[in-house]
Symmetry: C2
Subunit: 458 residues, 2 copies
């Protein structure tokens, strides 16, 4: 144990030569001996470039370890290719070892023909369960849930309930909470396993049951699932059907993955990268995901540039305005991005129906007014010095002051207003906000600077 780092270095030294020479059988023996965690085995499998060698290693590993490593690999094409490279019977053997939500995630990544071949090798009941789970959108509560859980009846005594947990628990991994249902399998609440053990054996479960603050329907979006689990500190969330009947549960570890994925998505979207781009994907994928946004940006930048053309006469007269333009644009863009980032996180973190809603737009307007006068005044002082030194138009400092100030105020307003409006319209506020806000600040900045210049300096 310790914190693992030094151990891992020696593991790496022993593993690397076997890995480099693709001696997969020996590698499998070594990994099993080392008793590595499936997540670490998953990293090793991923570090092999050739899918045939990956498949050979997976075949050589004990199937419990192999299946868990497969579940811990990063979602996506590489994993699907590996599973597709295994014989369907071997694939089915590995999936059979996994909780049904993990198995469904894996099956869902395959080509339809490959998926069908593996499902055909599974016991009928398992295959039917998986087909059921595959019906749900993978980004909803239904897509995240496992149907494997432990539930007891409210009428049981604590002793009977513990016996029932013993019976059901052999089939279920990592149950932390026991769900309590009535005779029609309607969810009544949960009882922590610890409470069940602490209770007097004759106590009815109905007396121990704790009402759950939330039960999800299958169509709840995964982002909302993350919010609720985090809000209520629950180790697992129940999923119920239309009549309140218990269908499954979602555990904290799947929710952590969702929170991380959603936040990667937010950062990438803010930066104009399509959320389909995998962080470790290849360059072709990156080009496909980013080029469309850059084309949009080329068009919006050309729009801002067209303002400059409108003021051709002014620029022809006073060329050094071209040096001030990027300063006004940069400060507007950055102020807008600041307001945007804070507003987007504020929207993402606002979770409760009883939460206080303060006015983001008004606050950002005030911040823009204050930051704008501070920066505008400083820039105007520099412009004044330059004016004195080089004998430029004495009105220049005024133009600089008002162009910067105005642009920073507009930037703050837009940075708060755009995502708020997108969110109220049900659109992810991170998408396109950034392109829109920076185009606006470029446009407004150039218009203010060149417009004021043509009015005051010509």
């Amino acid at each position: 144990m310790s914190n693992g780092t030094s151990d891992m270095q020696s593991v790496q030294e022993r593993v690397r030569p076997l890995l480099e020479e693709s001696r997969v059988e020996e590698l499998a023996v070594l990994l099993t001996e080392l008793d590595l965690h499936p997540s670490d085995v998953a990293d090793l499998v991923e570090s092999i470039d050739d899918v045939t060698a990956q498949a050979a290693l997976v075949r050589a590993l004990p199937s419990e370890l192999a299946s868990e490593a497969l579940a811990e690999m990063e979602d996506g094409d590489d994993r699907a290719e590996l599973l597709g490279a295994l014989e369907p019977a071997k694939g089915a053997e590995l999936l059979h070892e996994l909780p049904d939500d993990d198995a469904a995630d894996l099956i869902g990544e395959l080509e339809p023909a490959e998926a069908a071949a593996i499902l055909a090798e599974l016991p009928l009941e398992d295959a039917a369960d998986l087909r059921g789970l595959l019906e749900y959108d993978e980004e909803t509560a239904g897509g995240l849930m496992t149907t494997e859980l432990v539930a007891v009846r409210a009428e049981m005594s604590a002793r009977e309930a513990i016996d029932e947990v013993r019976r059901q628990g052999r089939e279920v991994e990592d149950f932390y909470s026991i769900f309590v249902v009535d005779e029609s399998y309607t969810l009544r609440g949960s009882v922590p396993l610890g409470e069940l053990i602490l209770a007097e054996p004759a106590t009815p479960v109905a007396e121990l049951v704790q009402e759950l603050p939330v039960a999800l329907t299958t169509d709840v979006d995964q982002e909302e699932v993350g919010r609720l689990l985090s809000r209520y500190n629950l180790v697992s969330l129940p999923v119920v059907g239309p009549r309140g009947e218990l269908l499954g549960r979602i555990t904290f570890d799947d929710v952590i993955d969702v929170i991380e994925a959603e936040q990667t998505e937010d950062i990438l979207r803010l930066a104009g990268v399509s959320e389909a781009e995998e962080v470790r994907g290849d360059w072709q994928e990156s080009v496909r995901s980013r080029l469309p946004w850059l084309f949009v940006n080329l068009v919006t930048a050309a729009l801002a540039a067209s303002v400059v053309f409108l003021f051709g006469d002014t620029l022809e007269e006073i060329w050094y305005l071209a040096a001030i333009m990027p300063i006004v644009a940069a400060l507007g863009g950055n102020s807008g991005t600041q307001a945007l980032a804070v507003t987007i996180r504020r929207i993402a973190l606002s979770d409760g129906p009883l939460e206080q809603k303060s006015d983001a737009v008004m606050k950002e307007l005030i911040v823009g007014l204050v930051n704008g006068i501070a920066l505008g005044a400083l820039a105007a002082v520099v412009a004044f010095a330059a004016t004195e030194w080089r004998g430029l138009d004495p009105q220049l400092p005024l133009v600089v002051l008002f162009a910067l100030w105005g642009n920073i105020v507009v930037a703050g307003f837009a940075g708060a207003f755009v995502p708020t409006v997108l969110d109220r319209s049900g659109i992810d506020p991170a998408v396109a906000s950034s392109v829109f806000v920076t185009t606006l600040t470029d446009l407004v900045g150039f218009m203010l600077l060149l417009g004021l210049a043509s009015a005051l300096l010509l």
Copy 2:
């Protein structure tokens, strides 16, 4: 239950009038009757502007609910002000109800004199425990851990262990895993409570113990704590002292809060907002947190502008270059931001020591070459049309092509290189990356455009 939204609306309707008229006693009775979750009560308390009314509501609530609501409030000044507004004896009563990590977080937010007054009201032993926890940096494993846990000895039988769990469990909230220690309290592993119940009563715990993939020392950074819990899907992580002795545990719910806070920090840092800014803070705080970055940006933008001054002669001759400058700058800036966001997430999500390290810089260079030629060519075609139409210099399309292409390649390189170097130097790659990359792309873009123009067009 259901998904809670409609219930919450009716709660809101009953609560609002009491809230608006600050009828806190009636409100307390209503909230207790409604059996609201502490997180919902926390939101209600936060929605009251006046700290005296907040304190009155907290005093009127049953102390268990009041203490949990306090723990669920957002960290920071408002919560500290509320706790400071209560009598020290009341504060101590509430803290006494909480797990020691939550109590320590609350105490840590207070002014030293307020903290001392509350600690003086607590039982000596509790106060000593809290003082011990307060020694740790709050962003480390020591700062996150609770010392309240359930541990059994490896020599015990399953039956004895369950009795021990019964004994210890009354004092401890939400224990999901039972830690296993030897006679010197050295951590040996853990056993899920479920396994203990499933086992034959006479089985020695030593046979059931599962080795833990990781044990943290108190100084491990909270970001690393989040990574490890998420990597190994553990519901709680043990924290050990220098000799491997068990000191405490960190549970998944605290880690989810950390993951969310770290990601807010990443997004804000990327956007040039100090991580000290609270997403729901007031405008004064926002000005303090953002203005320094904007000053830095004013200086860097002035640096880029100085390049424009170098080419004053060229601009005086060909004023319409001023319209092309912002296009080159915008596309360079956006390409750089894309590369930056992907690289920063890739660094944040890379967790395993055995993980494959592919070359981010080389990939971004290729992406830049491809995106750059595509966008450069398109812009050159437009420039060619403009050249024909307005009789501009026939070399203009070439200048546009190479300026855009070159700048986008540099942007991709810098977007991957800067955060990688910062990360290797132990600096958070999100800090300052953005300002550095966009300044560089402004500089390089203007230099390429104006330099090529003065060479080819004059």
